[in-house]
Symmetry: C2
Subunit: 330 residues, 2 copies
């Protein structure tokens, strides 16, 4: 089931895809595509691109093995020296360049010099509107935002957003390709900055930063409240479904009657953002080091993946939520 | 490990506890205590209190059985006709009355007429400051907030907050009792409205309501982005640890350099709250019905518990986060 009752897309696996920008996100995109059997050309200005790709792909293969998904029909990857070389002949291109509108626009211009005119271009941007990114494009009708959540090879959601010049047909084609990569493409029908998920994440991020800034709680304490409390809930039921359950047999209306008014209480401090003084940055870094510094990033990634694999297995066994997407993939 | 490096409490299981207010939260508190082997006296003005308690206790027993926690050494419960009868002789009292300061204060006054003067009183309030609740108390030094997350019998976190008149010794005693119920008591050292978790939840709730209000996304779409994306992350790593991993080998400082500035972008709309017009309430109710109306609340509770049991087993096997708390309980 898609979240959009109007959706009418057909899963379609492109023969050849390109990944432009191969940092952590781009490499994870490439890994998901490769594991889906697609040949992927990769370009990135950094000399470390192949190292990042092989490391992330190694994690992805381990994770898919643990989940019992097939890993023996991988596509092949090619590291390219230029964007033009990578995108030539690609049916699908995922752009994961740095998060600045001018950089994104320059990369898109480079892509269009060599990509087939009807290739779908998905952007990994966390918040820039596709209307902004597509304004100088030769074929803007094929640009969509395809915003993933890392680790892209495990978390199935991708938010698909069109700009003013994107056609609905191309949005459906993009959804079909993302679905063929084993993802759940949620079409955000209204174009806003940061789409759906990052608006929520930014709200939490701001509020959490205030608490650290004001000395109310440490990063460890905030994270513990999440992982030992509402984070466990949200891995399997979202905010609205959780609150529906909280409303008891009276359902959502009862919940609203009971808790709606507290929204006007002075509970949060979301009016502006704390200044990123060197002191605040130092505090955040120190607290994060104290919390997690005993693990390397690679260790944390492996722990994260192991946990997520376990959760997804549980969800699949229970035929629930993200687990259904995994089941559909088998 | 507790989150508070200064913490020095000793787990201590009270012989007799009282639960004042037996709705969904109070009943889940009673269930956790009963399963921990404590005798619990319960009072609630509603004639349905015993029905709610037995239903919730049934869910709790199933969940603990699934988790492999012992359920054969339960305490006994007594339904009392008055608050005074319930709290007489109790070493620990958990108050879960409706979320209004005047109601809380009246209930606390009733508790103090009959409770031992040194009984610890924990309040389940989601956001009212203990300093406000304790101002008219005879023995205010023993009042703490003990804010849980539902289902209280499964989610281990409890935020412990003292008011101006609460002694640190009584905060430690309360932490020790919550720990003996199998929980992880996080001491919020700075008293603010809504403590830690509900500040974050309220930020998400507000932003999500704006999206529904503005027609950007439905409750289903918002929930799907959570359960298929960042919710899975937060069941095992919180915001800060997740972002640390996102920063890659550059760590948290690199993450801040990369994404800190986007906080000033116009991503969220958290300046005030939408008006709760009948139209908005209707929209929310309709969307929630469409999303989840095919399941009864009881079904949703069972599904939720099954998922959470699975997650907790995974976390325990991986010796991580909330799973360590379960391991400590065995």
């Amino acid at each position: 089931m898609t979240s959009d009752p109007e959706a009418d897309f057909t899963p379609y696996l492109p023969q050849k895809a390109a990944v432009v920008g191969c940092g952590v996100i781009g490499a994870a995109w490439a890994s998901r595509m490769l594991l889906s059997g697609v040949d992927v050309s990769v370009s990135d200005p950094s000399p470390n691109a192949e190292e990042i790709l092989t490391e992330v792909l190694g994690n992805a293969v381990d994770a898919w093995d643990d989940l019992g998904l097939p890993t023996n029909a991988q596509g092949t990857y090619t590291i390219c020296r230029s964007v033009a070389e990578a995108v030539a002949g690609a049916e699908f291109i995922q752009e994961s360049a740095p998060e600045r509108p001018d950089v994104k626009k320059a990369v898109l211009a480079e892509i269009e010099t060599a990509a087939p005119a009807d290739a779908i271009i998905g952007s990994s941007t966390s918040g820039i509107k596709p209307t902004v990114m597509q304004e100088d494009m030769a074929n803007p009708e094929r640009l969509v935002v395809g915003h993933p959540y890392n680790p892209v090879y495990l978390l199935p959601v991708v938010e698909v957003v069109g700009g003013d010049l994107t056609t609905i047909g191309n949005i459906r084609r993009a959804q079909g390709m993302y679905a063929a990569f084993g993802m759940r493409p949620i079409h955000c029908r209204v174009e806003i900055d940061a789409f759906i998920g990052d608006r929520l994440l930014e709200a939490v991020w701001r509020e959490a930063l205030w608490m650290v800034n004001d000395g109310v709680a440490t990063t460890q304490e905030i994270d513990d409240v999440m992982t030992h409390g509402f984070g466990l809930r949200w891995a399997q039921m979202g905010l609205f479904e959780t609150y529906r359950v909280a409303g008891g047999v009276g359902g959502f209306r009862h919940f609203m009657e009971q808790f709606g008014p507290t929204l006007d209480w002075p509970y949060s401090k979301l009016m502006d953002t704390p200044d990123f003084t060197p002191e605040l940055v130092d505090t955040l870094v120190e607290q994060s080091d104290a919390q997690s510094g005993m693990h390397s990033i690679r260790e944390l990634e492996r722990i994260r993946d192991k946990n997520l694999v376990g959760f997804l297995k549980v969800l699949e066994e229970n035929e629930w939520s993200a687990g259904k997407v995994i089941a559909d993939q088998r």
